[in-house]
């Protein structure tokens, strides 16, 4: 059942399309939500969203890729979107969940994967641990650099680290008893604009209708309220740098050249030397971190053209 308000918002963005099929996949005690666009017997490709996003953020890009002849499969990472919340979250568990999603395709043939941001980093690692199951990697602004994430604190700054560690532990002390703040669709769209400053208001309103749920007191993002940014612990994105070159799958890297809060900020000069041999790489001008949302047509064409050549 869709309310008239939601129908109006979604119809203002007719090019965005909800998935055609959905199912749930057991990833070892909890379930993740898996969705698909396109013909079931077309070549599958698996999409991995970024941190604090969800499968609905593919609603512009995935239908275009489906039109190019692909069965587009995406999932909500644990605690995100329509997937179950977990008690514990790690990078490694997210990658394990990705392997379960690929397993659920019921094919032994290797499949291409595409990841955005955190999802891109995850797909880099997945291609290393399951080289026989991955036929190509497409990475949208998830290529590491030696500087780490743009928004991570300087750990040599005692006061900054003290605040980060204490804030995180204080959050955990409260987290079991809190829920996300309820707001109007407009209010949630405005708050998300702070993290997604380059995306249109129409898109952000649309995103609320698929990534938030309506309770009696207003709309709330579905994402698990116990999740929050930092501290990431000992793990560092730059650990992947010496491993990236060793991938033996066809590899396409795409970055935007406009720096953003959520971006990985890797420059072409940093990316070239660490990419696998023969990798293709595109730096898109006047494009920020959310490449597939800002330029869905170009990204779908780049992806489809690349896959037709390498698969």
């Amino acid at each position: 059942m869709t309310s008239p308000e939601v129908t109006a918002i979604r119809s203002s963005l007719p090019e965005a399309k909800r998935p055609e099929r959905s199912r749930r996949v057991d990833v070892g005690g909890i379930e993740v939500s898996v969705v698909e666009w396109g013909q079931e017997n077309d070549q599958p490709i698996v999409l991995a969203h970024g941190g604090f996003d969800f499968a609905g953020t593919w609603d512009l890009f995935a239908p275009l890729l489906a039109n190019e002849g692909f069965r587009v499969v995406a999932w909500d990472q644990r605690g995100h979107g329509d997937s179950d919340v977990a008690a514990l979250y790690t990078w490694e568990a997210d990658i394990r969940d990705a392997a379960h999603v690929i397993e659920s395709l019921e094919t032994k043939d290797p499949v291409p994967v595409l990841g955005h941001s955190k999802g891109g980093g995850m797909m880099n690692q997945l291609a290393e641990v399951l080289p026989h199951r991955i036929s190509a990697v497409i990475n949208l602004d998830g290529i590491p650099n030696e500087r780490g994430f743009s928004n991570q604190i300087d750990r040599s700054d005692v006061q900054a680290l003290e605040a980060e560690l204490a804030d995180w532990l204080d959050h955990r002390r409260r987290a079991g008893h809190t829920s996300r703040r309820a707001d109007t669709i407009e209010g949630l769209a405005e708050r998300r604009q702070l993290m997604n400053p380059r995306l249109s208001k129409d898109w952000l309103r649309y995103l609320v209708t698929v990534g938030a749920k309506q309770d009696s007191d207003g709309w709330r993002w579905k994402i698990d309220p116990t999740l929050r940014f930092g501290p990431s612990g000992a793990w560092r994105p730059e650990w992947a740098i010496p491993r990236l070159r060793g991938l033996r799958v066809p590899y396409l890297g795409v970055i935007g050249t406009v720096k953003e809060e959520m971006g990985w900020d890797t420059t072409p000069e940093e990316a070239f030397p660490i990419l696998p041999d023969g990798a293709e790489f595109h730096a898109l001008a006047e494009t920020g971190h959310f490449i597939h949302i800002e330029r869905p047509d170009d990204t779908a064409l780049l992806t489809a053209d690349f896959l037709r050549r390498v698969l």
Binding site: V27, A86, T90, Q125, E128, V158, R173
Partner: protein, 218 residues
């Protein structure tokens, strides 16, 4: 032994009071796959104050989360829930509990006056440097809700514990609290994370008894 269950994030944590009494409390953190002792161990008897022991998530009488995802930071947050319940205290960590204790000490240096690290399962974790990533697997039939959680055994034996990361936590203790002695290393084991802090003037190598007497004075 009295046990309270702490409602922490999505876990129920078993916090055992092994001995009541007045004075500075000691919190015992067990090793990987272990659980809290049910009575005060012989080597801790000399502690004058009350003695508590926490079962980490997925261990002992604490709840078992679904789908794994263990990190030492999540376990640090378990121990922080015990700290919130008990108030300022001294930490005694065995194996994995020693490393988790260091993380908590660096995060709450004004509420902890010392840490004793002793040997126990999970002291090393996955070493100091990232090695080949792997896809960990647990037989579904092994996930019957009993402790220790097989996911904990696998994930916390392969987590990376960089020396610099450990050293950062000790630096926080020094910069924010300033003890003459902050950590007593009573273990034979010397994983990289421990070697990285042992040269500090506030870390001494001594036995558990020395550690207990060092930190018991008000």
């Amino acid at each position: 032994m009295k046990t309270v269950f702490l409602d922490h994030v999505r876990s129920k944590l078993a916090l055992h009071e092994l001995r009541g009494g007045e004075g500075r409390p000691l919190l015992v953190l067990h090793g990987l796959g272990e659980q809290s002792p049910s009575t005060v161990p012989m080597n801790l008897q000399q502690w004058a104050g009350p003695i508590f022991a926490l079962d980490f998530t997925g261990h002992g009488a604490s709840s078992v989360p679904l789908g794994g995802g263990y990190t030492c930071e999540a376990l640090m947050s378990d121990a922080d829930a015990a700290l919130a319940e008990i108030g300022p205290l001294t930490l005694m960590g065995f194996g994995l509990g020693g490393y988790v204790g260091l993380l908590l000490f660096g995060s709450r240096p004004k509420e902890i006056n010392g840490l004793i690290v002793s040997d126990g399962p999970g002291l090393d974790g996955g070493g100091g440097k990232p090695t080949s990533p792997q896809l960990l697997h647990v037989q579904p039939s092994d996930l019957d809700g009993s402790t220790p959680d097989p996911w904990a055994l696998r994930e916390l034996a392969s987590d990376v514990r960089p020396p610099k990361y450990a050293a950062d936590h000790l630096r926080q203790v020094n910069a924010l609290a300033g003890f003459d002695t902050a950590i007593v290393v009573a273990s034979l084991g010397r994983p990289e994370w421990l070697s990285a802090i042992i040269q500090s003037p506030v870390v001494i190598e001594a036995d558990i008894a020395t550690g207990l007497s060092t930190f018991s004075s008000p």
